[in-house]
């Protein structure tokens, strides 16, 4: 071997090793089964490992893992360019907020062009619900939080109603076990919340609390809570689902008609325990978001390092807001977006045309709240212009069928190459294997998305990658026919074939790039694998097989080549 061959061999070896290393997470992720997931539920270290593999594995497109792709159009008619782009970013913000509810692991929401938004929700289960939520316009409202007396009253009423509804069966409900501390108005409730009662106590408490106080055993109701979040009720994270269920039942009818319960938007832990506030407030909003004209975050004038949000209202809004705030100084005013409370500041003084919300906001929190206020102030019309949803079962079928078809095709090619070209065919097959390895590793490494047409593209390049080898092998055959030695034939074969291979592949690559530009979703996946495949197959045919064949003929002066 001469120096350049040694270098080339080294390069190939490094590439193959890198590819194997890059594909390791994909392999491990594909081995994760239900049993392993069950173990991971109790073993955070294992869960972290699985998450790590998944993050580095080849990403599956929506058509393979199931999910939803949406193109939304925002009606920006009559807006200036700056207004339109502001409107677009606000709608993106609203959507991000709403999409959080779906429990989708990697939602992708981004603006496209001047008035469109692309939403991708991989693994989404309920397409109908997602569409109705995404398609509705944002509802920003200011509502007065009801005073402590009302909260205590409603909590008692709910306890009574739920107790009757559940009957004696409720006494066995274990979910109530942790709730002995939270008697309404209990002064020590904040102090020793995290403490766990002993087992016997817990059982008794479950019987007593679940039976006597189905609501207040799950929800902390306390007058002192308001200073932490503007509300008198707090639901620890583990009880949120249960409370949501209770409140959606018939018992909620005991809530007086002019009041409404809403959960807080963000999880808080005001005294070490994570959970969300539950707000009892006026059913009629004091003010709706369309009266807001601007909202910006500014450094707090009184507390250095902290931030506040300034907002202003239109004329009618100023009049209404003046009346509300003037008559309710000291009460809390909840800012609610799409039925969830973002913040509930206290009314310090009467506010008319402009006001500010202060608190110990960080810069990020303040700009988040300001954006939310502006988002809700925007009554724009959003329409679903394009939708493509694939159910998870179809995605699984597609993977299975695509892979089966591909492997059968590839196997036929392999057999054919070996039968037709014998030893040299074997070298070509080796090149194919390396080619696929590098292709897959490239997908994983650059986070490119594999789609069903993409799988077709991979196997199609197997068919086409053979081409470069066929070109070379046919050339070598021709040269052998002219009575050249094996060595000379290999040299001449590569020399003549290289130009052809490059010219023919560049033209195909042109088409690949056009496809990449034209296609979205699954088609883009096809363009990606096709383009990568062209490049890697050129490399394996021109470098890898050459090194092997040259090494074979060079070591033996009179080597013969069966081809």
């Amino acid at each position: 071997m001469n120096r350049s061959q040694t270098l080339q061999s080294l390069l190939i070896a490094v590439l193959v090793l890198l590819s194997l290393w890059g594909l390791y997470p994909t392999w491990r992720a594909s081995q994760v089964d239900d049993q392993m997931l069950a173990r991971a539920a109790t073993d955070p270290a294992l869960q972290a490992k699985i998450d790590g593999w998944k993050a580095k594995a080849i990403r599956k497109g929506l058509d393979l893992q199931g999910g939803m792709y949406l193109v939304l159009e925002v009606n920006t008619e009559g807006m200036s360019g700056a207004q339109a782009s502001d409107a677009l970013s606000r709608v993106v913000e609203i959507l991000r907020n709403r999409v959080d509810q779906f429990g989708v692991s990697e939602p992708d929401i981004k603006p496209m062009g001047s008035n469109r938004i692309i939403v991708q929700l991989p693994g989404l289960q309920d397409a109908a619900r997602a569409k109705s939520l995404i398609g509705s316009t944002a509802r920003l409202e200011f509502r007065l939080v009801r005073p402590w007396e009302d909260a205590a009253f409603v909590a008692t009423k709910l306890d009574e109603a739920l107790k009757v509804a559940a009957g004696p069966v409720a006494t066995a409900e274990p979910a109530a076990a942790d709730a002995t501390q939270a008697a309404p108005g209990a002064d020590d409730a904040l102090g020793d919340l995290p403490a766990l009662p002993d087992v016997q106590d817990a059982a008794d408490a479950a019987a007593a609390a679940g039976g006597e106080r189905p609501f207040t055993s799950r929800v902390i109701v306390d007058e002192q809570l308001a200073q932490y979040g503007g509300s008198y009720m707090f639901v620890p994270s583990e009880s949120v689902e249960e409370v949501r269920r209770l409140l959606s039942g018939p018992a909620a009818r005991v809530i007086p008609r002019d009041m409404e319960l809403q959960f807080g938007m963000d999880e808080r832990s005001p005294f070490g325990q994570p959970g969300v506030f539950l707000f009892l407030m006026d059913r009629t909003p004091s003010l709706t978001g369309d009266r807001l004209t601007t909202a910006t975050s500014k450094p707090d004038t009184e507390k250095p390092g902290m931030f506040q949000v300034n907002f202003s209202l239109d004329r009618r809004g100023s009049r209404i807001f003046g009346e509300t705030t003037g008559a309710n100084e000291g009460r809390f005013l909840a800012i609610s977006l799409d039925g969830k409370v973002k913040s509930a500041p206290q009314i310090i003084t009467k506010i008319t045309d402009s006001g500010s919300i202060t608190g110990s906001f960080t810069s990020a929190q303040a700009s988040d709240l300001a954006l939310m206020l502006r988002a809700g102030a925007l009554p724009v019309d959003v329409r679903i212009e394009e939708e493509r949803t694939v159910g998870p079962s179809l995605g699984r079928d597609s993977i299975a069928q695509g892979l089966k078809a591909g492997w059968i095709g590839a196997a036929i090619v392999v057999v054919f190459m070996i039968v037709y070209y014998q030893a040299v065919g074997l070298v070509a097959v080796l090149a194919l294997v390396v080619n696929m390895l590098i292709m897959m590793a490239t997908l994983a490494q650059f986070g490119l998305v594999l789609t069903l047409p993409g799988i077709a593209g991979i196997f199609l390049t197997v068919g086409m990658a053979v081409d470069a080898n066929v070109l070379i092998n046919e050339r070598i055959r021709e040269e052998l026919r002219r009575n050249k030695t094996a060595r000379a034939a290999v040299d001449a074969g590569y020399q003549n074939a290289t130009r052809t291979i490059i010219d023919s592949n560049v033209t195909t690559l042109i088409v690949g790039v056009v496809l990449l530009w034209f296609g979205t979703g699954p088609i883009k996946g096809f363009a990606v694998t096709l383009s990568i495949g062209i490049l890697t197959s050129m490399f394996t045919a021109l470098v890898l097989t050459r090194v092997i064949l040259e090494a074979y003929t060079r070591n033996r002066a009179n080597a013969t080549l069966r081809i």
Binding site: K131, G135, R388, G409, V470, I510, V514, G519, F526
Partner: protein, 308 residues
């Protein structure tokens, strides 16, 4: 093993038959396209809604159709898809409740109401508004033009202009015939079929370049008195083995993808398989004859005699 041992087919004498064959294929396709008023476009381009549903127990297809027809979706199309319990439902009209946000969901609800006891699983739903449909149509057209234009430029730079023209005529030939076949078989042209067309272009040009490259090489080694047609013949013969084997391996893969790859990519892989065959044919029987014809016309003109 070898399929071809130094063949010596006089392709230039077969060109006129090829002309007839290509002409007939194109004519059949064009007649069908004209008769149908253009290609049958999918909802990707016309706008509309497609649902792929799986129903257990499988209902009668006519029942599904009549339910949807009377449920507010006149002109709805229902077809079997892959297996007996799976249906593809296409609706491109305007539903009676035209303001509904979720047409697919509403159609599913109609089926669930009309067929009590039947589980309706939504396997896939696609919905495209007319505006985006129009844009996708333009994008599809532009992408084809861009692909062909870039190929002419590249081939003209690497070879000479007439090679570029000959190559692009061959590509247009391939796409026209495949499009015609889709019209004859009443298959829909969707976004993925456009992608298949582009792939056919990519494949066919690859094949054509290999033949052209050999013609260019052989022109330099041209023997005294050898006609241009003879050089082309020799070049095609020399590359014949490669042309056939590459097509064979690629067709084998795409045919397997067609048979086993599932109904979602059925039409896509069908177009690919057919396109690869027609693309191979066109490299030999369309692109090469144009070169010969062009050359002879120039040589016949005494003022413009030149080597190539």
């Amino acid at each position: 093993m070898q399929f071809f041992k130094q063949t010596n087919v006089r392709f230039s004498e077969l060109f006129r038959y090829a002309l007839v064959l290509s002409g007939l294929l194109i004519l059949a396709g064009v007649v069908s396209l004209v008769a149908h008023g253009g290609p049958r476009l999918s909802i990707d381009f016309t706008g509309g809604t497609v649902l792929q549903v799986k129903m257990a127990p499988a209902p009668d297809i006519g029942r599904v159709r009549s339910l949807l027809e009377s449920g507010g979706y006149p002109g709805v199309q229902v077809q079997d898809f892959g297996s007996a319990d799976e249906f593809l439902i296409t609706f491109t009209g305007i539903s009676r409740s035209s303001s509904e946000l979720d047409t697919a969901g509403a159609m599913k609800a109609v089926l669930e109401q009309g067929l009590p006891g039947t589980a309706v699983e939504m396997r896939r739903e696609e919905s495209v508004g007319p505006k985006i449909g129009g844009e996708l149509k333009t994008a599809a057209f532009n992408s084809m033009v861009a692909a062909l234009g870039l190929i002419i430029i590249y081939v003209s730079v690497r070879f000479i202009f007439k090679y570029g023209v000959a190559a692009v005529i061959a590509l247009a030939h391939d796409v026209t015939i495949t499009l015609g076949l889709f019209s004859l078989l009443n298959k829909e042209v969707s976004l993925s079929i456009i992608a298949a067309f582009l792939t056919i272009i990519g494949y066919s040009i690859n094949d054509t370049i290999v033949v052209f490259d050999r013609i260019r090489e052989n022109m330099k080694l041209r023997k005294r008195g050898e006609s241009y047609a003879a050089v082309v013949d020799r070049s095609i013969n020399e590359t014949l083995s490669r042309t056939v084997i590459t097509s064979l391996t690629t067709v084998m893969v795409s045919a397997m993808l067609y048979y086993f790859g599932g109904p979602v990519i059925h039409d896509f892989t069908f177009a690919l398989t057919f396109g690869i065959v027609i693309g191979t044919y066109s490299s030999i029987f369309v692109a090469a004859p144009i070169l010969v014809w062009w050359h002879e016309k120039r040589v016949a003109d005494p003022r413009r005699r030149e080597a190539m």
